[in-house]
């Protein structure tokens, strides 16, 4: 048990080092903005301190870097370390005893895994994400709606149904009564995005936040019926957290008006 914890910490630190490098410059513009202490940071008794280990879904990467920045600006005594990964993998790590204080998942099901182990205190949905059609810049396949995915001459990439974005894609297609002519089922949403960025496929289905993060290499197309498959993001403090006050403060900041504004900016929907 102790060894697995030590390994989990090591893995977390390794991820942190990588994420730290990647997130630094990206969060520049946000850190330039004046950050008043968040309204959700009301301290119960004295300033909070110590470390908060946040296990967050990979799709939250960019926005949690900004949230972390503002949170630590408001609570200078607190160090936030974020471990990004696939939600199901993170849930498994937490159940196996990884030292997490907060879990932010990309699906209610993965939060349930942690809650069923008695480790999630009162999960709250804090954001939602909607699917969008994504095409390479210039839209070579002249895609303008979900029905275009049925055209056999187009190369189409979707997430595999085993992962959350694939389940959402299948749901949206089923709701529209469409059977897409798919060329590849990718292992995660970023892999779909890469295939589109490289122009190897004419269209794919990814989250709106991924389209925004990808910039000019791709174009996003909203489609009617996307509401049929909205992905919800729950967050919870972990019950055996060694730093419960800081964990609660972090969760409070994410659901606060300022946290919600940052999420909105990144393309997330209201819970």
């Amino acid at each position: 048990m102790r060894v697995s914890k030590a390994l989990a910490v090591l893995a977390g630190l390794a991820v942190l080092a990588l994420v730290g490098c990647a997130a630094g410059p990206a969060s520049g513009p946000d850190s330039a903005a004046p950050s008043a202490p968040g309204p959700g940071s009301g301290a119960a008794s004295g300033p909070i301190s110590g470390t908060v280990a946040v296990f967050a879904a990979a799709s939250l990467g960019d926005v949690f870097a900004a949230i972390e920045e503002e949170f630590t600006a408001a609570h200078p005594g607190v160090t936030v370390v974020v471990n990004y990964g696939g939600s199901s993998g993170l849930a498994e790590q937490i159940v196996q005893g990884a030292p997490a204080d907060v879990f932010a998942a990309a699906s209610p099901a993965t939060m349930t895994t942690v809650a069923d182990a008695g480790l999630a205190a009162d999960p709250t949905v804090f954001a939602s994400n909607t699917l969008e059609l994504v095409v390479p810049a210039g839209n070579p396949g002249t895609v303008d709606g979900l029905a275009d995915l049925e055209r056999p001459e187009l190369a189409v990439a979707l997430c595999a149904v085993e992962v959350p974005c694939g389940a959402a894609s299948a749901k949206a297609l089923a709701a529209a009564g469409l059977g897409a002519s798919v060329d590849t089922y990718e292992q995660d949403v970023k892999a779909v995005l890469t295939k589109v960025e490289l122009g190897e496929v004419d269209a794919g289905l990814v989250y709106r936040t991924d389209v925004l993060a990808a910039g000019d290499a791709v174009e996003g197309i909203r489609f009617a019926g996307a509401d049929a498959a909205v992905t919800e993001y729950p967050i919870a403090a972990i019950t055996d957290s060694p730093n419960p006050r800081a964990a609660a403060a972090f969760v409070a900041f994410v659901v606060s008006a300022r946290g919600q504004a940052l999420l909105d900016e990144a393309g997330f929907g209201a819970p």
Binding site: S88, D183, L198, G199
Partner: protein, 272 residues
């Protein structure tokens, strides 16, 4: 004391047994855990599904074709590599580096590189598409190409080692007796390096069988077309870890069976 002839196996300093034991444990214990944790009771039902058999058949088929392609192209490359010992340093080292790079490259990077070459907008793929209407990604051909890219170096290096260790005097003798170069290759060189070729082909096949990163990046994943067993295993891990363990078990058993059953019979040279 009369000099004693060392036993054939040589001797081993006792201190070496400890790191050797740790090394073996590191290699074997994870597989033991896999076997122990496998959902044996549900195994028949987990494995009898059509998708599993389909993925297994695709894996075996593509790995066999990739091995055949690697043999046809890799053995000649190995001969060139062995002869490159006579070249000057720069081209010799460059050639060796080019052959070795796929071994050390993360396979996903290899997959991206293949896309950039053969993809619809790739250096060569763009012309294939424009002139012949050929698109390689997302096809079974792409699976084979990815496997060859990753696995052929194993074969090339194994055969090259065998060529270097072989006695060139047999070839020279054959040549002086009037055999043509092609006959020398067919009747002398090839039989001499046959153990190395079998060993290389075996490594190549098992590596191709387990190939994941380059395949999913370059060929994608579609059941029956490009979804090989390792890809099916990875995707299953997201949904049902028990089913994923069952699939890994199949892959492991097939690989171990190939290595154990064929090694002694076909590859005496590998252990010597």
């Amino acid at each position: 004391m009369a000099p004693r002839r060392p036993r054939r196996a040589g001797f081993l300093a006792p201190a070496l047994w400890i790191p050797a034991g740790i090394a073996l444990a590191l290699l074997a214990l994870p597989l033991v855990a896999l076997v122990v944790r496998a959902p044996w009771a549900d195994l028949p039902q987990l494995l009898a599904r059509g998708e599993v058999l389909q993925a297994l058949a695709l894996s075996l088929g593509t790995a066999a074709i990739a091995t055949a392609v690697s043999l046809a192209l890799g053995v000649p490359l190995a001969l060139v590599l062995a002869r490159s010992a006579e070249w000057s340093a720069v081209p010799r080292r460059l050639l060796r580096a080019l052959v070795t790079v796929p071994l050390v490259l993360p396979p996903v990077v290899g997959g991206v590189a293949l896309l950039l070459l053969l993809g619809r907008r790739g250096l060569v793929g763009e012309w294939l598409d424009a002139w012949f209407g050929l698109t390689i990604p997302f096809s079974t051909t792409a699976v084979v190409i990815a496997q060859v890219f990753v696995a052929m170096p194993f074969l090339v290096l194994a055969v090259e080692g065998a060529v270097r260790a072989s006695d060139r005097r047999f070839e020279i003798a054959a040549a002086t007796l009037g055999a043509s170069r092609w006959t020398v290759f067919r009747r002398v060189t090839l039989p001499l390096v046959a153990p190395g070729v079998s060993a290389g082909a075996l490594l190549c096949f098992t590596r191709a069988l387990g190939e994941f990163g380059a395949t999913i990046t370059f060929a994608g994943s579609f059941p029956g077309v490009t979804q090989t067993l390792p890809i099916a295993t990875y995707l299953e891990l997201q949904r049902d870890p028990d089913a994923a363990i069952a699939l890994s078990l199949v892959l492991m058993i097939v690989s171990v069976a190939v290595l154990v059953s064929l090694r002694d019979r076909w590859v005496p040279g590998l252990t010597s």
